[in-house]
Structure formats: C-alpha cells, structure tokens
Subunit: 228 residues, 2 copies
C-alpha cells in the first residue's frame, strides 16, 4: 500500500539512481502514448486499456506509474503547460521587446497549440468533467500571463500602445482574441495547421485591432486619461 504511488525517497545519495531514471523514462513513454491516443480518439477517448495495449503491457501495470486515469490527465496537463510556456517564452526572448515580442510569442503559441491539439484542448477546454488540474499544474499559466503583461508594458513604454494597454484588462483582451482564433480553427478545421485554415490568417488583423483598441494618446485623449 505504501510501496505504490511515490516509490519511496531516493537513497539520499545524489547518485544517478538507475532505477529512478528508467522509471522516469517509462513515465514519459506512457505520456507520449497517451498523447497519441488522444490525438487518435479525442481527448476524452483516452483509455488506460488502449495505452497499455500500445505499450505492450497489461492495464493494471500502469497503476504502478499513475494513481488513476485522472493522474495521467494531470501529468499531461502539467507537461503541456510547461512546454507551451517554454515555446512562448523562447519566441518572445528572440524578438524585439514590445509588440513584436508579443506578436511572435502569440504566433508561436498558436502554432504549437494547433500542432498539439489534443493537449491544447486539455489545457483550455477542460473537456474531462471529473478532471480538475492540480494547483501545481496551473502555475505555468500564471507565468504566461506575466510574460504577456510584461510585453504589453514594454509596448507601452516604447510608444507602440497607449498607456491603458498596461493592464489586466488588456491581457484579457489579448487572450480573448487569441482563444477566438484558436477555438474556431480547432473546431471547424480540425486537420489544418496554422496558416492553412480560414481563421488563423486573421491573426495579423487581430494584432492590428489590439493596437486600435489601445491607441496612442492624442492631445485630445490625453486629458481624458488623466481623469482616471
């Protein structure tokens, strides 16, 4: 009873611990297969039985690695969040700070999400009723908000957007615009990549709309913004 789940603390020594490494490899392999299954059968079509079949193992064996099907979903969620965050962070880091970084980051995010639809659905649509991601698994999304918020602040600082863009409200607007494109693309053009469908080409237009939503203050508007 105690030996399952977390298989005891490592032997205190910082040694490679061959055992633990192989275990981790197996876990990753299970998650990879689970992702494949979701791609083939839909997010809610994931079944441990099918994963076991593809792994060449009997279903109960998987319980040595995950406490339940929901545990697998949670691991997939966490891994997806982290990878998604990394992709976006990288794209933003490679670009000129401000609007360019924001645009590049969002586009990279969009590409990754469309290329990893099953995970994207798991992350943003919560299609599995009995699955509630753990707080730990939610942490990266807080980080993503921070990144976007910083990019907006940069854009304001360098005069690409009006001052109101440095706000939570603006972050919501950005995520609303993005989730609109992605939802439409995923629901209506299930097999097309970024740029191939009818919706993602609107992305540049949406970025221009963002600029329109937070215009640089004119001398006239400046007075208004003071009253805040």
């Amino acid at each position: 009873m105690k030996s399952d789940r977390t298989p005891a603390a490592p032997p205190a020594s910082g040694r490679p611990d061959r055992r633990a490494r192989r275990r981790q490899e197996t876990i990753e392999e299970i998650l990879d297969i689970a992702e494949d299954v979701m791609t083939d059968e839909g997010v809610t079509g994931l079944s441990l039985a099918e994963v076991a079949r593809r792994l060449g193992v009997q279903p109960p064996s998987l319980y040595k690695y995950f406490p339940s099907l929901m545990g697998v979903y949670n691991a997939l969620f966490l891994r997806g969040q982290r990878e998604h965050l990394a992709v976006m962070r990288q794209a933003m880091a490679d670009a000129e700070p401000g609007l360019v970084a924001l645009t590049k980051g969002l586009e990279a995010s969009g590409r990754w999400l469309l290329a990893n639809r099953a995970i994207a659905q798991l992350l943003f649509w919560r299609p599995v009723p009995s699955f509630e991601p753990s707080p730990e698994a939610l942490a990266p999304s807080v980080e993503m908000v921070t990144l976007q918020r910083a990019a907006l602040a940069d854009a304001v600082a360098v005069g690409q957007l009006g001052p109101e863009a440095d706000s939570d409200e603006a972050v919501y607007l950005v995520s609303t615009l993005i989730s609109g494109v992605l939802t439409q693309a995923m629901a209506n053009e299930p097999h097309l990549e970024w740029g191939q469908d009818r919706f993602t080409p609107a992305f540049p237009k949406l970025m221009r709309l963002l600029v329109a939503a937070y215009p640089l203050p004119t001398s006239k508007a400046k007075r208004r913004s003071h009253s805040r």
Copy 2:
C-alpha cells in the same frame, strides 16, 4: 428488428395519432433529462444509465427511443442548434437592422449559450470524439451565418461599416471575436452568467473593434477599394 428505431410510418391519415404524441413527449423528456445530466456531470459525463435512473426506467428501454448514446447526442445537438438559432433570429428581428441587430443578436446568442453551457459545449467544442453531428443537425448553423452576413450587409448599406464588411471574411472575424469571449468565459469562469464574469464585459469593446476593422471609406481609402 424492423419495429425498433423509426416505429413505422404514421397511418397515412393526418389524425392526431395519440400514440405518436406520447412518444414525442417521452423523447423530449429524455432529452431534458439528458441535458440535466450533462449540466451535472459534464458533456462527456452523459450516460444512458443515469438518464434511465432519473426517468425511473431500465436502461434498455431508452433504446426504444434512440438508437444509441450518440443518437441522443445528435438529437441534443439538433435541438440546441434550432433553439440557439431561434433566439438569435428573434433578437435580431426585434432590433433596428444593421449593427444594432447584429449586436443584439450576438448578445442574445451569448446569453443563451452561457445559460445553456452543456449544449454550447456540445455545439462548438465537439468534446465527444465518436460523435459527428448529422448533416441535418448542421443546417441551422449555415442559417446563422446567413443571418449574420445579412446584418453585416445592412450595416454596410446604412453606412455603419465599410464595404469590406459585407464579406465572408467579416463573418469569420465576428465569429472569432464571439467565440473568443465565450470560450474564455466558459473555460475560466464556469459558474458565472453573462455580465458577471471577467470576459463578457469586453463584448461592447469587441463590437467597437469590429467597427475599427471595417472603417467607413475616407476619400483616400475609396480609391483603394475601387481596385477590387
């Protein structure tokens, strides 16, 4: 084998057909309960066993009314599409044609969808992998596009939007903006109604963005639009 499913053609006479009426009532009752179950347990949490339990009947009896669980999903999908369409059509009919009608229609649509989340998810997120709506069930959504397209054309005609707004592209943009708000609201604020959450208040702003996206032609821009 033949007597199940479609229970034979009505007796040709256009009589009230008591039998058929009661049957239809039962079907509606089953769908109502199914909707409740989805609300309680999530869209994919719908089970015929639970419906049977709530209806006070043994599970196999339901197969007298629907060929399968997917059949129930399909009926829910169709009923949802029709009701959603009716709500939007009504709201638009009650408003001044053009931008106002479009706005009222979209808002009514949004309110209805948030008030009927389970159905909304079924309609737009396709969460059930093995469920593909029948062509008949998809027809109302074509009609919705037509409605929106007409409203955009009206808006162009009365000079509320630039001429480019009378296009499929503009319809995509509208649906993108809307689906963004709704997706965000549904995924992140699962228990709040329209107006109570962080996202739907952005709706008026989005409508203003739509106007910004299709500005009335200035004398300068007019020349460009001729080249089309």
